[in-house]
């Protein structure tokens, strides 16, 4: 039996209200299905499930507000027999069974050996979907090898992550929009924690955007309007590529620097009524420019309508904030804990640039980086901004 728990949708979330179950007891569910709507300070979030199985029972009723980690439902894996306790069973036996069950509940954490995990990561295999065949059901080397083989056979490039599924229309007719106050409270909590705990250092680099803007213009000339690229796409892609070159900047602080292999970029969106929301684009390094554009087109309306899913909000490994056209020239960000860096991109503005002893007028982007000085030093941040500059000088290679 698998315990499905209230997920954490950010470092600042302590509890959530289960607004509605989207499935019923006995329903067959599979990885990625939306099982419930949960209300948080950031609004109504669709919660996905990451296991395959049948819903055995609900542990929390609709309307209940429970802390992160509370078991919401029990899910029976497909290959497991239904539990039945017969009256004739000796009490000893029943006690033993419930201990075993409790044990299984605690053991819900995915079991994978270090070797298998390393191999899966190296080969970009999503090991969350693998079935373990080790003695304790853990995923072992053999299972990852099998997955690599299957991918090779099916001809699917393992590098392309599946594009997000279309949002399922909510059955609730009234969208539960969080109040100004609760959004403000969520931002306040996260930012206060950050400024209290994280010793920030700040770096800035001027980036000549001539080549990038030229490339964007030329690329967009050949595209229908709805397919045209925003400069934000180029920024996300360039940031992802730069992280690949300076991976130390991508991670979290957990009493020590934990570098993350996945590059999940949190992209700051401002809300019309005030406040911000930060959905994450997962595995941004593996997505093409067009996939990132599709993601933006899909996420922006969903975020502004507070129709985000749990996976949109969790697991960002770095944050990117971009002021956009006509805004301030520079933005110095505050890191979203437990991440260790935030990149700030200002308004692109024409400036006088000295090059080869001549003054010329160029579109200039002021890129900043706020880094957690516990985790990295200025040199790392500086290398990152250099890489970003280099990548934006070669947009065709992104």
């Amino acid at each position: 039996m698998i315990a499905f728990k209230m997920p954490s949708l950010g470092a600042d979330m302590e509890a959530g209200t289960l607004v509605e179950w989207r499935k019923s007891v006995g329903d067959q569910i599979s990885h990625g299905d939306i099982i419930a709507d949960v209300e948080t300070q950031k609004g109504l979030i669709e919660i996905e499930v990451f296991d395959d199985g049948i819903i055995e029972r609900f542990m929390v009723e609709e309307g209940a507000k429970v802390p992160v980690g509370t078991v919401l439902a029990m899910i029976r894996p497909v290959d497991e027999k239904p539990q039945k306790l017969e009256v004739s069973e000796a009490p000893e036996e029943i006690k033993k069974k419930s201990v075993e069950q409790a044990h299984q509940t605690n053991a819900k954490r995915l079991k994978i050996t270090p070797l298998a995990k390393r191999m899966a990561t190296d080969n970009k295999i999503d090991y969350g979907k693998l079935k373990g065949t080790g003695p304790e059901g853990e995923i072992v080397k053999k299972d990852v090898e099998k997955a690599i083989e299957e991918l090779a056979v099916s001809g699917t490039s393992p590098k392309v992550s599946p594009i997000e599924k279309q949002p399922i229309p909510s059955s609730t007719s009234q969208i539960n929009v969080p109040s100004q106050k609760s959004i403000r409270a969520a931002v306040a909590a996260a930012m206060t924690k950050s400024k209290r705990e994280i010793p920030h250092y700040y770096l800035e680099k001027k980036i000549d955007m001539s080549k990038s803007l030229d490339w964007l213009r030329k690329t967009n000339e050949d595209r229908p309007i709805q397919k045209r690229l925003l400069s934000a796409v180029l920024f996300i892609k360039a940031v992802a590529s730069s992280i690949e070159e300076v991976p130390e900047i991508n991670g979290v602080w957990e009493d020590e620097l934990v570098i993350k292999n996945e590059i999940n970029i949190g992209f700051v969106l401002s809300l019309r009524g005030g406040g911000i929301i930060v959905p994450a684009i997962k595995n941004a390094d593996l997505k093409s420019i067009d996939e990132i554009m599709e993601w933006l087109n899909e996420i922006i309306p969903r975020a502004r309508a507070f129709k985000l899913r749990s996976s949109d909000l969790s697991e960002a490994t770095i944050t990117l904030t971009s002021i956009g056209e006509g805004g301030a020239d520079k933005v110095f960000g505050i890191i979203y804990p437990p991440q260790i860096a935030i990149i700030g991109l200002g308004n692109v503005i024409d400036e006088a640039i000295v090059e080869n002893g001549m003054v010329g007028i160029r579109p200039v982007l002021h890129a900043t980086l706020a880094g957690d000085h516990r985790a990295t030093d200025g040199l790392v941040g500086s290398r990152f901004l250099d890489a970003l500059n280099k990548n934006l000088q070669n947009p065709e290679e992104l």
């Binding site: 050996t113 070797l115 390393r118 080397k141």
Partner: protein
């Protein structure tokens, strides 16, 4: 296994030949210990050597471990090459002050001026129904001490070859010999050979799991490996041989090959050689691991006298087989 390139010999005989050869080849070498001369050694390892080499080369000493180990250290400092035998490992406690504070430390205390080229041989281990005061496996005690080279003589090859290699060391060597194996026969190369006392040695190649062991564990692991081979499980057996300094490279290499490891030792489980080996694997080969690490060690009790309890207090081949099947998820468990 027997062919014209090897010959069969008991562990005791292999040790005796090593002594005979050492005494023959270098006048500075002499053997001292309780009952090593007239009695021929408590375990008959030095039988006949007194007659051949005389009382100055094969020296009986009073029953005073601290005294005669100290004398050995002194003579080593003065240019001799003593082999000091301590009858069984429990008596070595009485000489620990000499071994640790003098033999292992003088090079440091003298600023590198005085080295101690001493070989201390100690009979040890379980298996002869000698009860709680004469059956210890104290390899971990010695392996804890910087300045010592600690060898575990787990095979006939090493019983024949380790003494000569130890006598070449400029620093003190503790050779731990296993009384349980004295009468056991084994094959050694027929031609003269030397052994390396800096490296562990793979005694059997395999690809599925590594058994890392030493001393009495070596033959038990080889036996388990042989039986598992019939089930299609290929076990690699690494004999550590050198317990200080540990040959980390060989340990990491076998784990990187099989991705699974069990350490087998007779010594008590807590704070043993196994703890150290597994710690190093965790530190340096974590991402090679495809199964949790595992230890099979001695039960943490005073060694019992009755045969069946004595057997039960250390890992046997059968225990090793069960553990491997469990780790590999082998069906017949």
């Amino acid at each position: 296994m027997a062919d014209e390139n090897t010959h069969k010999i008991t562990y005791r005989e292999a040790l005796k030949q090593a002594h005979w050869e050492a005494l023959r080849d270098d006048d500075r070498i002499f053997l001292m210990g309780e009952d090593v001369g007239r009695y021929g050694g408590a375990f008959a390892v030095s039988k006949g050597l007194l007659k051949e080499f005389g009382p100055e080369r094969v020296m009986d000493v009073p029953l005073s471990e601290s005294g005669f180990v100290g004398a050995g250290i002194g003579s080593a400092m003065a240019g001799m090459k003593p082999i000091v035998e301590i009858m069984t490992v429990n008596f070595s406690l009485l000489a620990m002050d000499q071994i640790i504070n003098n033999a292992a430390t003088l090079l440091h205390m003298s600023g590198g001026q005085v080295n101690v080229p001493l070989v201390i041989r100690i009979g040890c281990g379980i298996g002869r129904q000698l009860a709680a005061q004469h059956s210890h496996s104290w390899e971990p005690f010695f392996a804890h001490v910087p300045g010592l080279i600690v060898l575990s003589v787990g095979t006939h090859e090493d019983a024949r070859g380790m003494l000569a290699a130890s006598l070449k060391s400029p620093d003190p060597v503790v050779m731990l010999e296993y009384t349980f194996m004295l009468n056991r026969e084994g094959e050694i190369p027929a031609d003269p050979f030397t052994v390396d006392i800096s490296k562990a040695k793979v005694r059997r190649e395999g690809r599925d799991i590594s058994l890392i062991t030493y001393g009495n564990g070596v033959y038990k692991c080889l036996e388990a490996a042989e039986r598992l081979f019939e089930l299609g499980i290929e076990v690699e057996v690494l004999d550590l041989r050198v317990l200080r300094p540990l040959d980390e490279e060989s340990i990491l290499s076998t784990v990187s090959k099989t991705h699974r490891a069990i350490v087998v030792e007779d010594a008590w489980k807590s704070v043993g050689i196994a703890s150290e080996v597994l710690a190093r694997i965790s530190e340096k080969a974590f991402f090679e691991l495809d199964a949790p690490l595992y230890r099979l060690c001695g039960a943490e009790v005073p060694i019992p006298y009755p045969k069946h309890l004595e057997d039960a207090s250390v890992p046997q081949s059968e225990d090793i087989i069960v553990a491997i099947k469990k780790i590999l998820g082998h069906d017949s468990v």
